[in-house]
């Protein structure tokens, strides 16, 4: 299969594996196993981007001509699509678009009101996008920061008293081993009961573990569209009450109703706009709408996405566990599996795998504190599956790594 560029629709051709036709542009020799960083984009998403740029390339929210009205409709549909994915209501939640998960978390944490919260709570197994902003937020608010452990199943280990007027910021799925925040509902309930709020880093769960977030009552959910088959974009889903409480310091065009010499009025009845200063990434937002639609109907190999990934995850986990001298970090199978070889440098293994056409990630995956500081581990090698992945991909990755490990030992 030869594709003619990412932004052109290709004619589907027979594929040797059971790879989804929406990823048929992928060269046959390429095995992409870095979906935890960013997923591949299915053809409909690429087409949506191209269609915007070539068909109705207008600004949203401010123009009256036909292209602009279409952009407004698409953006509204994108917001609705996001809420629909999680079964959330627009009456309670607003959707804002931004750069990425890190940016979204910072936008919220750096604008939270003073004197309302007594502490910031997070966990050791967090991405730097959570770990660092919680430090700066605690400092800005003048409150202590509490770093808690997570159980092997991913549940946050806490005493209810620790949640007193707390700003709880945790991930719902680890980018190291995919472990889930299994006690999410309980955590939200206990936090709310003590006057606190829960802000979730859902970067790793929105693509494949959305069930965990269905109808959640968390106060905010931040994620990256580019980890869920869409274009590069950050998304914040936040409760209206939380948005209304923010001490806004990051302001500008696109969120104001009127401006005077020394004051301004923000848009009424549009809480999502409070986190959207400036012109937005219209094409990416429209592509997200396409991605949410696509995620709702895609069936790789004729199976539901979760089942497809479960089969592949088990296969990958089992095969990696069989390779001598390789330590699997995961306690159980997950679409994200990290390993390391005590006598081999993971970066080197990643480079060598790349020579075989296998794209795997190496390093600390922005979780330096947990992996390096707390567990004392060397840089890891991470394989993360996506809906484009096939059993052939998993087998090729295993065979290449097993051969390398045997030869290098």
């Amino acid at each position: 299969m030869k594709h003619n560029g990412l932004f052109r629709r290709t004619t589907p051709a027979p594929i040797g594996t059971d790879r989804l036709a929406d990823f048929s542009y992928l060269e046959p020799g390429v095995v992409y196993l870095d979906s935890a960083c960013q997923s591949l984009r299915p053809q409909p998403v690429l087409d949506a981007l191209t269609e915007y740029y070539t068909g109705y390339n207008a600004c949203g929210g401010r123009v009256k001509y036909a292209w602009g009205r279409r952009v407004d409709d698409e953006v509204a549909a994108a917001r609705q699509g996001v809420l629909g994915l999680l079964g959330l209501s627009g009456r309670h939640y607003a959707v804002s678009f931004t750069l990425n998960t890190t940016f979204g978390l910072n936008l919220l944490l750096q604008q939270l009101p003073h004197d309302r919260y007594a502490r910031v709570v997070t966990s050791h197994i967090e991405h730097n996008s959570v770990f660092l902003p919680t430090m700066t937020a605690a400092k800005r608010l003048g409150v202590p920061r509490l770093v808690l452990d997570r159980a092997a199943d991913g549940a946050l280990l806490y005493e209810p008293a620790q949640l007193e007027r707390a700003i709880v910021v945790v991930n719902t799925a680890s980018n190291i081993d995919g472990r889930l925040l299994t006690n999410l509902a309980e955590l939200v309930r206990d936090t709310h009961a003590r006057g606190g709020i829960v802000i979730l880093d859902a970067a790793q769960s929105m693509a494949h573990e959305r069930a965990l977030l269905q109808k959640t009552e968390a106060d905010a959910i931040c994620f990256s569209a580019h980890k869920m088959y869409s274009a590069s974009l950050g998304v914040i889903i936040a409760r209206h009450e939380l948005l209304a409480s923010l001490e806004l310091s990051f302001v500008g065009g696109g969120m104001v109703a009127d401006v005077r010499e020394d004051s301004y009025d923000l848009l009424p009845n549009d809480p999502g706009a409070l986190l959207e200063p400036g012109l937005q990434a219209w094409a990416e937002i429209i592509a997200l709408r396409q991605a949410t639609d696509w995620l709702g109907q895609v069936r790789p190999g004729g199976r539901p996405p979760a089942e497809h990934l479960s089969v592949l995850s088990e296969r990958l986990f089992d095969s990696l566990s069989d390779i001598p001298n390789l330590t699997v970090v995961n306690a159980a199978a997950s679409p994200v599996i990290s390993v390391y070889a005590p006598k081999q440098d993971s970066h080197r293994l990643a480079v060598f795998l790349s020579q075989s056409g296998i794209a795997a990630r190496s390093g600390y995956f922005c979780a330096h504190h947990y992996l390096k500081d707390r567990l004392g581990l060397p840089p890891l090698l991470r394989f993360s599956l996506g809906l484009h992945s096939t059993t052939a991909d998993v087998d090729r990755a295993h065979d290449a790594l097993a051969r390398l490990m045997k030869g290098l030992s």
Binding site: D345, R348, F352, Q355, K406, G407, L408
Partner: protein, 353 residues
């Protein structure tokens, strides 16, 4: 070491291709840390090695370990040869400035300076010392030579006055004229370039404008003298200077030099070539015949022959050797001092004008 080698290689590759320039900054940062004995704070070294080894890893992963060692050794050699090359460049540049040759030990082998007969350095070369397993000597001798070169820089920069270096009993080609400046040659009677210089001097009329004198310096080699009869000729020249012929318009020693440098025998062979290829007896006969031809009586010739073999002449020659090697500091014959400079090697007619 790998970072430093990579920087060196990328420096050259980056000069010819923009593709490699983006790596150059990384390599520079890495190298800077290494040479200041800090760990490299980037993964540059590892990245570079891994990418080089990756094709091998796919085919023969078992060879990655040995290949990695080979890369380190190659990197070490690259750094070593670069440092050595830099050292040689600096040493050569200093030699070129001070002595007019990039190779002080064998000045004739350097094409950058003027043509000349070299004064061989009797100390073993770096390679000879290494071959004799004298590692300390190999480096020690080289550093001593470099030290000598640097210490001679001030003298090279000085204003050269030929009169300061005139030997005892100096004789002048056209006699001494107080109105003319003095020029002083350091010559070996057997050196072809001295012959060419003399011809250039005559062609340029240099000897008419200057009080031209000389120091006869027979070049020594490891086995004796570079030109077999140079010492003998020098002994006669010094003896003639000690016993000058009264009323001679041109001193007899100069007349002999002129014959050697400008005239040929009946077969059309230059007298210099004849002297360089004949034995001492024939050379002595020639010198004595010429002396008689230029006005000396048989008795005077006998006196000159006797003085030539004397300890006094031997002392004068030894003094002149010290003067050339330790005060004038030249390693090229001929050298000529005039116009406030020391000119090493053959000087063209144009430069003598």
């Amino acid at each position: 070491m790998f970072c430093i080698a990579a920087f060196i290689v990328l420096l050259f590759m980056g000069a010819v291709s923009a593709r490699y320039r983006r790596y150059l900054a990384k390599a520079a940062s890495c190298m800077l840390r290494r040479v200041t004995f800090r760990p490299c704070d980037t993964t540059f070294k590892q990245d570079l090695k891994d990418h080089m080894l990756a094709p091998l890893a796919v085919r023969r992963p078992g060879l990655v370990g040995p290949a990695s060692v080979v890369l380190e050794v190659v990197a070490f050699l690259v750094v070593l040869t670069t440092i050595w090359s830099g050292y040689v460049v600096v040493e050569s540049a200093a030699n070129l400035y001070v002595y007019g040759t990039c190779n002080k030990q064998d000045s004739a082998s350097c094409s950058l300076g003027a043509e000349a007969c070299s004064i061989p350095d009797q100390t073993p070369t770096f390679g000879e010392s290494l071959a004799a397993w004298d590692i300390v000597g190999a480096f020690g001798n080289d550093f001593v030579r470099l030290g000598e070169t640097f210490s001679a820089i001030p003298s090279r920069m000085q204003n050269w006055d030929a009169e300061t270096y005139l030997p005892a009993n100096a004789s002048y080609l056209n006699g001494l004229d107080a109105k003319k400046p003095t020029a002083l040659e350091v010559i070996d009677p057997g050196c072809t370039y001295c012959m060419e210089l003399f011809q250039n001097i005559e062609e340029a009329g240099f000897d008419d404008r200057q009080n031209l004198s000389y120091i006869a310096y027979p070049i020594q080699s490891a086995t004796g003298y570079k030109f077999p009869n140079s010492l003998l000729v020098t002994q006669y020249l010094e003896a003639l200077r000690l016993n000058p012929l009264a009323d001679a318009k041109t001193p007899v020693d100069w007349q002999i030099l002129k014959r050697i440098y400008t005239e040929e025998n009946a077969e059309g062979v230059s007298w210099q070539s004849v002297l360089n290829s004949t034995d001492a007896t024939e050379a002595t006969t020639l010198l004595q015949d010429w002396a008689q031809e230029f006005g000396l009586s048989r008795a005077q010739v006998d006196t000159v022959a006797s003085v030539a073999a004397s300890t006094e002449v031997a002392r004068i020659i030894a003094d002149n050797k010290t003067l050339v090697e330790e005060r004038i500091h030249t390693v090229k014959i001929p050298s000529i001092i005039f116009d406030g400079r020391r000119h090493d090697g053959l000087v063209s007619v144009g430069d003598l004008d």
